[in-house]
Point group: C2
Chain length 473, copies 2
């Protein structure tokens, strides 16, 4: 492999020409001609960074060839879908190449009999949904942002509200084609829900945030769209009472599609931002500190109704202050408002949004601990989250960066100590990697570094993300 | 690392003493004092092999220390649970060490609120079920053999009939502690259904057949036990008609817990072996070449009944010759008989049992192709399988080894060409590895070999399995 230094005698013009030879000069842009949208994702912390190169491949082969050129020239590569990530995983590095998948955005196949779709990485979740809906099918991963690309969700292993029933992205991606820095394309998995034929490279690439290989084709699992749905909302005196209700709900066997909690400040912010009237009386509003939202789907109305009745009685017995059955329009508005919680948090001036995951029974202990840590530095935490998954979204209000970073570290250490992890669905990106490398099991970290070396010996793929170290190889 | 050769000047006695220093001399056995049960698993092909050493560790730490001794002395290590595997993955190698987990067989925890259990690898599926049933919970992986150990099912990524609803082992293992040849223990995952915090080492170790790390503690996901169940069986004129019914059943949204097909010879063998009377008239028996078996579970009887009605009408419209609703006892007997299909095949003189997986819509094409390949060499194929998963169990009757091996290779190539894989749930073991290395994507294989090197640089863990090469490092 050529080991031309980026700062050596080879001019950038030479690298640029080689990129242009791969994708065509119309699809390579440099430096200040790269629009500011490409300088960042939606992470709240950290400053945008202008990359040196932007290339838009049209095929898997072009993607792989771009990696060969980048590896030879030691140009760090950041893959980009829609740029909706929340951890800075697709924030570029200076001197780097951004590979944008906007020209690889075709739904290649909707295979009804196998209940799978095959898509290019730049396809958005909204486009995928539109492609499969006419067949009565759905792709079940619904993170808040439907403009997210499927490739991006592979990178972060995105979750969302329906994960409590259908799992996160890794549970719904059956196969990949991916480009390696060697210039090779690898195929993993397929239209298969089970395989015991060698190591599961699909699952290894899933959630690797562009550090191992770049997905160029993705086979996702589809499910029948349920015919009937309803939403229950229960007000509780405090968050601990909500959290105690979660295992009881899951033990009934009524598998909810959505099982969310919101603290009262988050619900107020959401309803205000979306101009949503849920019919909660002022007495309840004053007494309730937290809410549980349960979404149910069923193929039959009767079965849905008995599920609602059963859970309603249960929540009542568990001390709910009031219970609301939201039908159709208002239910959809509430869920949509919840999906926009990140934007509400951002609009309200949050300095960071976390997505810590802990064993769900440990949520009360985690909340108490995190709240105490925040109060100790005069910071505020408000939030909502995927209660069924133990996945806590905390909006952190703490302006001063050093204080905030120290607080985040203590919150991550608390979660890790409870058997949890730093991220349940956003990934580590450039924002949380340093916390991860400090808190992770060193044995696991060493294995991950070894794996990285196998896939990406030159270290060009999103250097600095997940495993730390320099952002430029 | 010491690089003492096994055949060099260091006497075996020295190695033996070092193993004994780890686990105590009562728990190390050598050569002809190792009982014949330890010489094989349940794979039909291949001859038993006596290992040189057998050690029974009591703890994770002892397991790791055994690996350090083995790595230093270059002794190949084969992990063993209950020895119920079907691909020879725990068949030992000469000169090798078998690590048997029979002393690490404790259910450490049943955590009802988090719906998980934490177990040692030697716990059997039957023991795990007995431990969680009193809490109204179940571990949903039911391969045919409930005497299988949880550790063994982690190794092979075992499946079984309920995978169509609940997934295979990899979808139900949330975390591991595992011993590495370095002597280190690594912890991966946890009581968490979603994590986006670095590479997923749990999924990488899952299904690695003892070649990367040895699981010493396993956290599994549990589900509520459904209250009601029923079984439908439909007779069809031929296998193609059965296979065409499968996508239609899955499209209804009535998520079956079991979705199996049996050809008529398999059903006859099962009912004869288990003395089972299903009430199939002689006319149907003469006309039907294949059967579809659908198991439904529900928390409510009414919803179960509407599911039965809906599927009954659908199967009728799809040309079923007759449809049987099996209640309680006879349903249980049929499912139990199906679980024992391997033993029926073995008793009937099958020479090999395959578990090829293909996209489920490709099953008719696969059957036609495989049947033609078998007929060309005067071999017979009969079978049953997990129709919802495209997972085909074929009993192969072909006594002559060279002919059989060539037939198997052609069948595996056919499956691979249809987008399938050699094994859906049994793993590759010593029986199918050579076919895999010949048919696999070379890029994927090279990545797997690199990963193996990261975990097991001395190559002592089940050498020869999955990646080929010599059985002795």
């Amino acid at each position: 492999m050529t080991t031309t230094s980026r700062t050596g005698t080879t001019p950038d013009q030479h690298v640029l020409e080689r990129f242009a030879a791969v994708v065509g000069s119309a699809h390579v842009v440099t430096e200040d001609r790269i629009g500011p949208d490409y300088h960042h994702d939606e992470a709240l912390a950290g400053a945008p960074v202008a990359p040196r190169y932007l290339a838009r491949p049209a095929t898997a082969e072009e993607t792989a060839e771009l990696l060969v050129v980048a590896a030879a020239a030691r140009v760090p590569v950041t893959a980009r879908g829609s740029g909706t990530g929340l951890s800075g995983a697709c924030r570029p590095v200076e001197d780097g190449l951004v590979i944008s998948f906007e020209r690889m955005a075709t739904v290649l196949e909707v295979d009804v009999d196998n209940q799978v779709a095959v898509v290019q990485p730049g396809v958005t979740l909204a486009e995928l949904d539109a492609a499969v809906a006419p067949y009565g099918l759905m792709y079940t991963v619904f993170p808040g942002e439907l403009s997210a690309s499927v490739g991006g969700t592979v990178g972060t292993n995105a979750g969302g509200m329906r994960a409590v029933r259908y799992g996160v992205t890794r549970h719904n991606v059956l196969g990949l084609q991916a480009a390696l820095p060697s210039g090779e394309l690898v195929r993993t998995g397929g239209k298969l829900t089970k395989v015991s034929t060698g190591y599961d490279l699909t699952q290894l690439i899933m959630g690797s945030e562009g550090t191992l290989a770049l997905a160029t084709e993705i086979t996702v699992r589809l499910y029948p769209r349920p015919a009937h749905s309803a939403t229950l909302m229960a007000a509780f005196a405090d968050l601990t009472a909500v959290m105690r209700a979660v295992p009881a709900v899951l033990r009934t066997g009524v598998a909810p599609t959505i099982l969310e909690y919101l603290d009262t400040r988050t619900l107020e912010a959401l309803t205000r931002a979306q101009d949503l009237e849920l019919g909660i009386g002022t007495g309840i509003r004053a007494a309730a500190q937290a809410y549980l939202v349960i979404g149910l789907d069923d193929r039959e109305r009767a079965s849905l109704d008995t599920g609602i009745d059963l859970l309603g009685e249960l929540l009542d017995a568990l001390g709910a202050l009031d219970i609301y059955v939201l039908e159709g329009y208002s239910a959809r508005l509430l869920i949509e408002a919840r999906e926009k919680a990140f934007w509400s948090a951002k609009a309200s001036g949050a300095d960071e949004v976390l997505d810590v995951v802990v064993p769900r029974a440990a949520m009360p202990e985690f909340f108490d601990g995190a709240t105490a840590l925040a109060h100790a530095v005069d910071a505020q935490l408000i939030g909502c989250g995927h209660a069924g998954d133990g996945n806590v979204h905390l909006a952190v209000y703490c302006r001063e960066e050093t204080t905030r970073d120290a607080l985040l570290h203590r919150i991550f250490a608390l979660a890790t100590g409870l058997g949890g992890a730093i991220s349940g669905e956003h990934g580590l990106g450039r924002i949380k990697t340093a916390h991860f490398t400090a808190l992770a099991d060193p044995v696991a970290l060493a294995l991950m570094r070894g794996i990285k070396q196998v896939f990406d010996p030159a270290g060009i793929l999103n250097p600095g993300v997940i495993l730390g170290g320099k952002a430029v190889p």
